[in-house]
């Protein structure tokens, strides 16, 4: 606590000194896209004479305060022509800028069009900013451009292998990533049981993954933050774009509601393979059914005068798996699940130095398993619903100082596995109640250039969590209920407080080289644990309680960043160490009773992750791409698993290599290729067997003590622009997934065969999912 107070004091002193230094004036405003009127996030704004500047926030707002004088301000953004404005700064004033797209992108333009040395200048370490252009161009599974799969190509981000779009960031699990879409949490970011992510690249404006040194404004997860913002809609004219792919089609419409004052965007995706093939597949002797999904992103934004903006954005997506044996009253299963989010954001600019944002957030994730048989039906419902309010004040006292403070409150409502059955017209419900949690946080953070070579971004987050009623909790001894506790809406089962210091520091060696340090301590009060080796829609989110303690993660990282050839090449080496407390796993035994709380099946332990990430990229020119390599270890230790023996957890990847190549051949053709290699996934092997009542029973070895064969794959792709006359655009995207048809392990099962001579042959068989898969996608825009 003393350390917290000391930090607050330091912030206060720094601010006071900055404000008191001398009379300064402020130029502030918004940077927008000239064609669409959309805000440009992370546009570069700097004063040429001072060689100092800033970047726009997610709402396109910037603020520069400095001494009086005449200055040249340079505005630039990726793929746009930079704009220079000469100003005489003798009073505070507003300067809104629109940047136009480059007609011809050359290496030289891009040098200035991008904040080329941002990776050297910024204090934030361990960050990946993904460009949607890259996401759309790279070859993709079944032609589905996927943000998560592109992120998996970056160092420090591992995939779970085939058929899982979950992100394993620096040894953390998917549920330890905070995934935000316009400030709303997305609890299950996977379509089709994780084969694709739920984010439609057409609807996303920016995507930033923070792997370490997580700023104080983010909280609630211990591994990483993936902050995505949706596009806002064209303020000037109507636009339609879309594509027709192998398994899905998508369409986006956007345009002004009131020109230059209000705009909308609606973007949708849906799959259709199921509608074509299911009638055939379901008539087979062993019927199968192809699942389907759809998602819709919608957003409106309104300018309410010069100083106020209102954004309303929503996401709604659903997956549905269904199976029916056919006939009336036969066996049937359904698994519908999906996310819904809504956020309403209000920006207010008090003056050139003070910017406020408030957001109301609603998230809802639901999952249901239902089964029918004759007159009987069974349902297992689960999910999580949040209502939240977040707010922040950004204060820009000097060109070298950005201060931010804010609050966050979320009311969580957890639906555990609630069993409902109708048997012979009688209804049964399991006796597990809905759970409630209140999560509250305050934060302050300051990004400041202490000297020309030292820049820090330091912050402190204080978080508070209470798990409350109104509900009833049955305590079990084994499967036998022994006690029942009732709590009211304001009674808590447990209350936790977390002081979470955060720090990023950049030491600039020269214009091309910097060293960065990142450190963060994070608390996670809500948890999801998977019983299988992948993330499933049925994985449950649970609250911290008197039994389930908050997960805590502490990480330190150190990185060397260097650019070459006028920022054409970027290189970095980062090392990290992460310590994790109160980690949760299922024990070695299955769930026993439908009435038992799921947390009774959990066991608790500790973990650690450490490794080194190597990254080299060519970011400019006709040929671009990167090579990323991660050498990493992550393990867990649970007293109730294998007698406390440390084991590598399922996110452990010793070696992870990604190579990405992109070549803009000419105005029409673009070629690209990716290669990935990853150490095999860990699994729990069968070491012995025995017979019980004549049946073979498995005896397993230590958890995750065996590693599957390595995963590697090469994909290639090409884009051909059919038409691009400024008003109408269309292209064809060719993609070949798994070029050399590598049979990568998806999982291993035991095949037991009884031969005629009485021999029992038990062999392991590896299942691989996707062989070589060529696809074509047609994209259009007008």
């Amino acid at each position: 606590m003393r350390k917290c107070l000391l930090l607050i004091l330091i912030f206060g002193l720094i601010l006071t000194n900055q404000v008191k230094a001398q009379k300064q004036f402020t130029v502030s405003g918004y940077v927008k896209d000239a064609k669409s009127g959309e805000d440009l996030f992370a546009a570069n704004v700097y004063i040429k004479e001072l060689l100092k500047g800033t970047t726009t926030n997610v709402y396109g707002f910037y603020s520069l305060s400095t001494d009086p004088g005449t200055y040249t301000i340079v505005y630039s953004y990726l793929g746009t022509t930079e704009v220079e404005k000469i100003i005489t700064l003798d009073k505070d004033f507003t300067l809104n800028i629109e940047l136009s797209e480059n007609e011809v992108i050359t290496a030289e333009v891009m040098v200035t069009g991008r904040k080329a040395d941002r990776n050297i200048e910024d204090a934030q370490t361990s960050v990946i900013e993904l460009e949607m252009k890259t996401v759309k161009e790279l070859p993709a599974l079944l032609g589905e451009a996927d943000i998560f799969r592109t992120l998996q190509l970056k160092p420090g981000v591992a995939s779970a292998g085939e058929g899982n779009s979950g992100l394993y960031v620096r040894g953390g699990g998917p549920s330890q990533n905070l995934v935000l879409l316009d400030n709303a949490t997305v609890y299950n970011p996977g379509h089709l049981l994780g084969f694709f992510s739920v984010f439609n690249a057409d609807a996303i404006k920016s995507s930033t993954l923070i792997k370490g040194g997580i700023p104080a404004e983010y909280g609630g997860r211990i591994s990483s933050v993936l902050d995505m913002t949706m596009r806002e809609g064209n303020m000037k004219e109507y636009e339609f774009e879309g594509g027709i792919g192998a398994i899905s089609s998508r369409i986006t419409a956007q345009g002004p509601i009131i020109k230059d004052k209000a705009a909308f965007i609606v973007s949708g995706r849906f799959t259709y393979l199921s509608f074509l093939l299911n009638p055939i597949l379901e008539r087979q002797e062993n019927p199968v059914s192809i699942p389907w999904f759809f998602d819709v992103n919608a957003k409106m934004n309104f300018k309410m005068g010069e100083k106020d903006r209102l954004f309303i954005s929503s996401y709604f997506g659903r997956d549905r798996f269904s199976f029916s044996s056919g006939g009336d009253g036969g066996l049937s299963f359904e698994l519908p699940y999906g996310n819904a989010t809504t956020s309403v954001r209000w920006n207010h600019q008090f003056n050139g130095k003070l910017f406020m944002n408030n957001t109301f957030v609603f998230n809802d994730y639901v999952s249901k398993i239902s089964a029918g048989f004759q007159e009987n039906s069974f349902e297992l419902n689960s999910g999580i619903r949040d209502f939240g309010l977040k707010g922040s004040l950004e204060f820009f006292p000097r060109i070298t100082n950005k201060f931010k403070a804010g609050y966050e409150y979320v009311f969580h409502q957890f639906t555990p596995y609630i069993f409902e059955a109708n048997i012979q017209d009688e209804a049964f419900t399991s006796e597990i109640d809905v759970k409630y949690g209140h999560e509250f946080a305050l934060f302050i953070q300051d990004e400041i250039d202490i000297t020309t070579w030292l820049k820090i971004n330091a912050g402190l987050r204080g978080s508070l969590y209470a798990s409350t009623g109104p509900n009833e909790r049955v305590y079990f001894n084994g499967a036998v209920p022994v006690d029942t506790v009732q709590k009211g809406a304001f009674d808590s089962y447990a209350t936790y407080f977390g002081a979470e210091p955060r720090l990023n520091a950049r030491f600039k060696i020269d214009d091309k080289t910097s060293v960065k340090v990142g450190a963060n301590l994070n608390y996670q009060y809500i948890h999801s644990v998977s019983q299988s080796t992948t993330t499933l829609p049925t994985d449950l989110w649970v609250t911290s309680t008197d039994i389930v303690k908050p997960e805590i993660g502490a990480q330190v990282s150190l990185g060397l960043f260097r650019n070459f050839k006028n920022n054409m090449f970027e290189m970095s080496i980062e090392g990290y160490y992460k310590k994790l407390w109160n980690q949760i796993e299922y024990g070695d035994q299955p769930v026993v009773s439908a009435n038992e709380e799921i947390e009774d099946q959990f066991v608790f332990g500790e973990g650690q992750a450490y490794g080194a990430e190597f990254y080299a990229a060519k970011v400019l020119g006709k040929i671009t791409g990167w090579v990323g390599y991660t050498l990493a270890w992550t393990n867990r230790s649970f007293p109730d698993i294998d007698n406390g023996k440390t084991f590598y957890n399922r996110y452990d990847r010793r070696h992870d290599l990604s190579v990405v190549f992109q070549y803009d051949i000419n105005d029409r053709w673009n070629l690209n290729a990716t290669f990935v290699y990853g150490s095999g996934q860990t699994t729990t092997p069968v070491v012995n067997r025995y017979l019980i009542s004549g049946e073979i029973v498995n005896e397993y070895g230590d958890r995750n003590s065996f590693r599957l064969p390595a995963y590697h794959r090469m994909d290639i792709g090409a884009s051909y622009i059919l038409k691009d006359n400024g008003k109408r655009y269309s292209d064809l995207n060719f993609s070949v997934y798994n070029l050399y048809s590598r049979q990568n392990p998806y999982f291993i099962f035991d095949d037991v065969n009884f031969s005629d001579n009485g021999d029992i042959a038990i062999q392991a068989r590896q299942v691989s999912l996707f062989p070589i898969l060529p696809t074509i996608t047609w994209n259009f825009k007008y």
Binding site: S289, G478, A479, G694, E699, G758, D759, F770
Partner: protein, 340 residues
Amino acid sequence: MRNLLFAISILMSSALVFSCEKEIILDISPGEIDFVVEAWIYNGSGPLVTLSKQFSGYGTFNQATLADSLTVRDAAITVNAIGGNVVQLVQQSLFDLPSDLLDQFLDANRIPRFFGQFAGQLAGFTLEQQLAFAEDVQDSTFIQYVNSLNFYIDTTNTLIGMGGIAYELNIEVDGKQLNALTTIPVKQDINFLSYTMSADYPNYAEVNVNLTVPNNFDAFVLLSNRRSDTTAFYIPDYFDGGLSDNGIYAGSGTIDLPLLRGYADNENPELSVIGLFEVGDEITLKWQNIDEATYNFWFSVFNDGGDTPFSSATKIQSNLNGGIGIWAGYNTSYTTITIQ
């Protein structure tokens, strides 16, 4: 949970449209070989114990010689009725078993009696003759496997299982001590069986178990059923391995629960009528009250799906100290109904 994973597995089979599989050699070191106990005591019968060893995880094994190589002989085994007497068990062959223990064993191993459960013996057929008939319907090498097993029983008939009594099993073999404690629960039987004809399939009926479930009811049950026409042995139902934690119905009063038809390994059930019985079936329900440890053991055996994307490796919950397996107490009752 297994139902849930089973559902997902079926649904995910659609994703496997693209998939392929191949044999893979796993370089796994075998673990330490433990003694395996399968032992039980029914109400109204003496204890029956089989003792064997584990074998390696992968390879080719001859079924006929497997039991011979795995069976553990010359163990010193006692059963102690807590608060009662202690008996020393004696090693016997299959053909020396008394009829009640023989039936229990054959049911557990799903070995059919060609003439039904008791008719064969009443008609004067020897067990060897019955098993010879059984070879026609069951793999003959499996019968050889059964023949080579060794059993430990109480030949004095002085220890008979009773509901509400705990029993301790002690085994000394090859210098190792194994022990376990089980209880034969107090009987909580069903009221009766009934059936309703299927509205959609005229030759099929749904059988229901009528059960009274008071408050604080926490009975664990292992239930299986057999049909006289095709299966002369008891099979757990299709979905949950015949395991029921009836505590979830506590306080529901008198209820009807569906009894789902069990299927033998070689049966290929029609999905549209899965779980239904047919007209003419004489159905016998074997209802066994079990204690929590026994429930957990069978639950973990049934729910082990391997370490795959849709299931987790389940360590079997044994009540044996010093070994693995189960020492179970069963309070068993039988109820029969015929679909007219």
